[in-house]
Symmetry: C2
DNA sequence: TCTGGCACTCCAGCGGTCCGAGTGCCAGCA
DNA sequence: TGCTGGCACTCGGACCGCTGGAGTGCCAGA
């Protein structure tokens, strides 16, 4: 149908225009700026239909149209074309991320990069512990009855916990314990740690059992919220920009939600590294994110996502561009983590 | 002089009133709310003098007076009394910080706590590496020519770096190296590491020398900016609150400066754990902080501050309360770090 | 099925007015 | 000498009404 086709082109034009100008877009402006081949009057008719169907809306009678959440959703699913990054952007990414010195650094740079590329608030999750594998498990005696357990994962995360041990320990005992634990856990996915732990205790020499039990217990504790997941946030300054324009009341609830982390982590829980997820406006259950959109994707070398990253911004955002940026950064982060 | 004395009481009242109401304060309101024992007319005369001297100013002719930076400075130095925290606040602090599981957790909780207590943006610096001592230095072979060096300090910081080693290494060599390094560095302040390194290389067995050199070099690298200093920021949502009221243009430059970290770190460089530092408005060299005040103090168990923490907010802030909160939190953080 | 024309609506911006808060000054009083 | 009450003055913010322009919906005609 030539009809429907044009109507969709009108919708696309409305979204694009509104995203770039932030003004409700009228039929005349649309006809002038986009080559739709018809007069403003015809566009008006199409707009009336689009409004009827819920894709666009009028702030008030004598204003232009603005896309609704439904309109953005349709745009993202059906109308937007992948916008490849410019060569300059690609080299910028490489330059920015190269020379990162450790995981903290990689993620810190990523979040800044993402914020800069998209001009939105960027969010990067640390690699989930349970999906990482143990690279090394170190024990440092603090006193005779306390050990510092340091867990180093293959993704570069380091977690430390103090373990209160039930019996006094000597340096050699600790060394023995360390060897045993590393023999068991090194290379294993942390998700499997809970399976291995009981067998390990039973199989251990008698004098080590209480120690093994204490350390394993602590190890398992680190695998639950909240230490399991961590988040880096950047580019909040981008919210201050057009705050009044984009967020009706204030950006306060949004900033609070971001600092809460939990909200974002819940959104991130669903990411996977194959496809970019977009969550628009009212689709977000959390109230504070109701006026915002969230674009995210998982990163990780293989099939399973180690963690997620994304951007949060007004529903009026450049979805195509942000999706491309998010995906590109995720890919680089994945590579970097695979290397080290 | 009874004169001067009353004038100062007027200034104090102006600051207090303006801080709590955010309205320029007039002579009548002042006479009504504060028991100054004189009529509005007299207060007006005092105000004229205070304005003459530069402590207060009028936004426009028919408005009340507002403290200037100089006024706040005087208030902080001479007029404000220490405001002890309420019992509820004290227990809140303990409750909040107890149960912290590692350094990251302690600092994360501190920053949230501080933001909540003061309703300002809170900033907490990680313990400076060079002022920390080595608790343990771990080496994990990644491949025959690459080692992962993990540095654990007595303050709980963990830094990791990949060391490219010039020769292929075996497990035993690594063990030897680890023992040697720990024998030398464990317990030593990192600031002294650069002194010890050369001697260590020379004193090492011949076959270890290139390795020792490589690892020491990497170790020294971690002691310079930017990894030397790290920052946690929280409570940025508090900026969104009365943004229009407190920050004329927008909060954007301020948020950017905070994310830069460098700016804040420079301010933090001067902290020491004995006294709270207050930097008001124009006193801050950095342009973005020109309309803001910064209240900070060092934390640390002993004499030397391990790091700093503080809050950033509008010059119109509750200095007495914020100073008390900052100091209290710093004290707890100091204790917590000393314990572990 | 599209187009141009037309009447209609409604917001944003502008200028003018008014009110009240706050001031400075001055004369009188302790 | 210092405090007070009175008074005239200033000025910004709120309120109001107007107008212009952008944008729409509808309709008749191509």
């Amino acid at each position: 149908m030539a009809h429907d086709d044009r109507r969709l082109r009108v919708l696309r034009a409305i979204v694009q225009d509104y995203v770039s100008t932030n003004d409700p877009v009228g039929s005349k402006a649309l006809a002038a700026r986009y080559d739709l081949g018809v007069s403003p009057a015809t566009i008006r008719n199409d707009m009336a239909v689009l409004e009827e169907e819920g894709y666009i809306t009028q702030p008030h009678t004598s204003a232009g149209r603005v896309p609704t959440d439904k309109g953005y959703r349709f745009f993202v699913d059906r109308l937007s074309t992948v916008k490849p990054l410019s060569a300059a952007e690609r080299t910028a990414i490489e330059k920015f991320l190269d020379g990162a010195v450790d995981l903290h650094d990689v993620l810190g740079r990523s979040v800044r990069l993402l914020a800069q590329l998209t001009r939105q608030v960027a969010v990067v999750q640390y690699p989930t512990l349970s999906r990482s594998a143990v690279r090394h498990l170190e024990l440092v005696p603090l006193s005779t009855s306390r050990l510092l357990m340091v867990l180093i994962t293959d993704t570069g995360r380091v977690e430390q916990r103090v373990v209160e041990v039930p019996v006094d320990t000597e340096a050699e005992t600790v060394a023995e314990l360390r060897t045993l634990l590393n023999a068991t856990f090194t290379g294993a996915k942390l998700a499997e740690a809970s399976d291995k732990a009981p067998g390990l205790v039973e199989g251990a020499p008698l004098h080590l059992r209480p120690l093994v039990a204490a350390v394993s217990a602590t190890l398992l504790e680190t695998l639950v919220e909240p230490s399991e997941d961590r988040l880096v946030i950047g580019g909040t300054a981008n919210l201050a920009q057009g705050s009044a324009l984009d967020f009706p009341g204030t950006v306060r609830p949004l900033l609070e939600a971001l600092e809460e982390q939990v909200v974002v982590l819940r959104l991130m829980a669903e990411v996977d590294s194959s496809a970019v997820i977009v969550s628009i406006g009212e689709e977000n259950q959390h109230e504070a994110l109701t006026g915002a959109s969230f674009v995210s994707v998982g990163y990780g070398s293989g099939d399973e996502a180690l963690g997620g990253l994304g951007v949060v911004g007004p529903t009026r955002m450049d979805y195509a561009g942000n999706m491309a940026a998010v995906r590109a950064v995720a890919r680089y982060v994945g590579h970097l983590l695979a290397e080290s």
